[in-house]
């Protein structure tokens, strides 16, 4: 177990290093640079600016210096929001994104597993067919369609829920539902097909044969095994929720890290952009490690040797 975690940790660092390197060079190779919009500024001042933000000198040295700062947890200064550090900006916006992401994560997992189980147990009934039709529809329709449409119906016509903003728990309802929608559907489909497969297996028949009630056979015996594919999906789910939250935050005007990311691309805000990418990637890589460990605990047949 320890060897496995150590190995995964090493590969985690390698992945992160790759992401940091790619992001850094991509952004620095972009023509224009962060101060190109202000055409009037004299050469000398631009040079001074570049020096202040440590964007001067040979590229490899900039890269090495940046890595050094990263190791110390310093994400540097934003070039757009002058005099504010990336750490500061992220400290403000990330908790907002986290609340939205975690709510959507829980919503998608719990509702998805529940719906999938119901559909599998009621296999070949109208409930099953309807649930699966609805799930495929939800997967097909993107959040940037469902989001504005939900806002239009519940926010503007019915006036039940706020259409945007942040602060009260009620303002979380529409964004969380929008973000969780497609993944709830995906998990429901995954859970259904996996549970159907498990229900046909011998050990479930044995459980039934020895006189267990149907619900006990399903929930105690079959569910535990059927959950495995869902657990493997939790890593990619976190990745999808992160990217998805960028859109949802834009739709509902939520002050999370997503809008910062988009703006930093448009403004060529070098360090803010790399900062968001690095923080998101770190989170995902850690998340995946946790998923792998959970997986091995749930299914002792899996050997940890990655």
């Amino acid at each position: 177990m320890l060897v496995f975690v150590a190995r995964r940790f090493a590969s985690m660092i390698a992945v992160l290093l790759c992401v940091v390197t790619i992001t850094f060079f991509l952004v620095r190779l972009a023509p224009g640079g962060p101060f190109a919009r202000e055409r009037e500024i004299p050469k000398a001042i631009e040079e001074q600016l570049m020096a202040r933000y440590q964007l001067d000198g040979p590229l490899w040295k900039q890269y090495a210096d940046y890595l050094g700062d990263l190791v110390q947890g310093d994400l540097r200064l934003s070039t757009k929001y002058r005099d504010r550090s990336v750490n500061e900006l992220l400290a403000q916006s990330l908790p907002v994104s986290a609340v939205l992401g975690i709510t959507a994560f829980l919503l998608a997992t719990i509702v998805g597993v529940w719906l999938g189980t119901v559909a599998a147990v009621r296999h070949h009934t109208v409930i099953d067919a309807t649930a699966m039709f609805g799930a495929l529809a939800l997967i097909s329709i993107p959040t940037f369609v469902t989001g504005p449409v939900l806002a239009l119906i519940f926010g503007i016509y019915l006036k039940w829920l706020p259409v945007g903003g942040w602060g009260s728990p009620i303002s979380l309802v529409l964004p969380a539902i929008t973000l969780a929608g497609p993944y709830t559907a995906y998990i429901a489909r995954l859970m259904r097909s996996s549970l159907l497969e498990v229900l046909g297996q011998d050990f479930v028949r044995t459980a039934r044969a020895k006189g267990l009630t149907e619900s006990r056979a399903v929930y105690r015996h079959a569910m535990k095994v059927a959950l495995l594919p869902v657990v493997t999906f939790l890593g990619p789910l976190a990745a999808n929720l992160l990217t998805g939250s960028i859109v949802v935050e834009t739709i509902f005007n939520i002050p999370g890290a997503g809008p910062f990311f988009i703006n930093s691309v448009l403004n060529r805000d070098v360090f803010l952009l790399s900062g968001v990418v690095i923080v998101y990637c770190t989170f995902l890589v850690v998340m995946n490690l946790l998923v792998d460990i959970t997986y091995s605990i749930l299914d002792p047949r899996i050997r940890l040797n990655g």
Partner: protein, 303 residues
């Protein structure tokens, strides 16, 4: 040999008996025909700015007009052209990458396979779209310069679309690679492959002549399912303003325009409704068709 390249018997029959598959095929046919020939038939002018700002849907403007008085029907058709083009081409690129990658991993097996699949796992878990956003932004201006150097400025406007096709093709192959690898692993140990090897055929020949034809059905299913995924990604980027750029339209950018036109005072619902409707119908049809194809190709799998 020729026989294995055709679909297994009964696939068409089973597909045509599935009402949702038939409905999907009809919907798709209508949308594709409208996207390809519509602009020619209706002589639409998606970029023409008129005084008729925010006109409601009428016979003259079937879907109404937007903030610049542009005909929304014309713009939705243009969006369909661009979104479908990006979807099909991007899916084709990821189809080539995914199939090749999966076949190599599955056929090689062992350590090579383990390493290749580990890479797929890692790629699954990083926010690929974020890197694509950064990358497309960088390469767009470079390609624009190259295209402008080649001649007309007309061509340069399409550089973003080319970048999007390549970039999205580069990220949507993971599922395809996984599926193909699994199938190759299963095929590899079957009698006909073993006998081909015993006859002394080269690895390349075995893969191309014996394994590839057996993958055809499966690969078509996942190609059908990759197209909506790429369209979704493209509209995602365009919605955020980092994909297809104005005055060109894609479903994503139209939806963003529509969302911005909605406010409590006066909502121009048609700007949101029509792009959303056409896009959702297309994606639904593609996904339902892909699912139906999968069931038709493997009747035992249908649960």
């Amino acid at each position: 040999m020729d026989k294995v390249m055709t679909a297994p018997p009964g696939v068409w029959r089973r597909l045509l008996r599935n009402p949702s598959a038939v409905a999907s095929m009809i919907t798709l046919a209508v949308i594709v025909i409208l996207a390809v020939f519509g602009p020619l038939i209706f002589q639409t002018k998606p970029h023409e700015i008129t005084g008729a700002q925010f006109a409601e849907p009428s016979l003259e403007h079937l879907f109404g007009t937007d903030v610049h008085g542009r005909d929304l029907f014309a713009r939705v058709l243009e969006g369909a052209r661009i979104s479908l083009l990006v979807g099909f081409s991007g899916a084709l690129i990821s189809f080539f990458i995914g199939t090749t990658y999966g076949m190599i991993a599955g056929y090689a097996g062992g350590k090579v396979d383990a390493a290749m699949m580990r890479l797929v796992e890692v790629l699954y878990a990083i926010p690929r779209l974020m890197l694509i956003i950064v990358g497309s932004f960088v390469f767009d201006s470079k390609l624009k310069a190259v295209l402008a150097g080649l001649g007309s400025g007309e061509l340069a406007a399409y550089s973003k679309i080319i970048i999007l096709i390549i970039a999205l093709g580069l990220i949507e192959w993971l599922t395809m690679a996984r599926i193909v690898r699994g199938q190759v692993l299963a095929l590899k140990s079957q009698q006909f492959v073993l006998s081909a090897r015993a006859l002394g055929q080269s690895h390349v020949k075995i893969v191309v002549r014996h394994i590839l034809p057996n993958l055809a059905g499966l690969v078509v299913v996942y190609l059908t399912l990759t197209i909506p995924a790429v369209i979704l990604d493209e509209s995602f980027l365009s919605f955020l303003g980092v994909g297809v750029q104005a005055p060109l339209a894609s479903w994503g950018s139209l939806l963003n325009d529509g969302r911005e036109a909605i406010n409590p005072v006066k909502s121009y619902w048609w700007l949101l409704f029509f792009p959303a409707l056409v896009m959702s119908l297309t994606l639904l049809a593609l996904n339902f068709l892909g699912d139906a194809l999968r069931d038709a190709l493997d009747p035992r799998r249908k649960r």
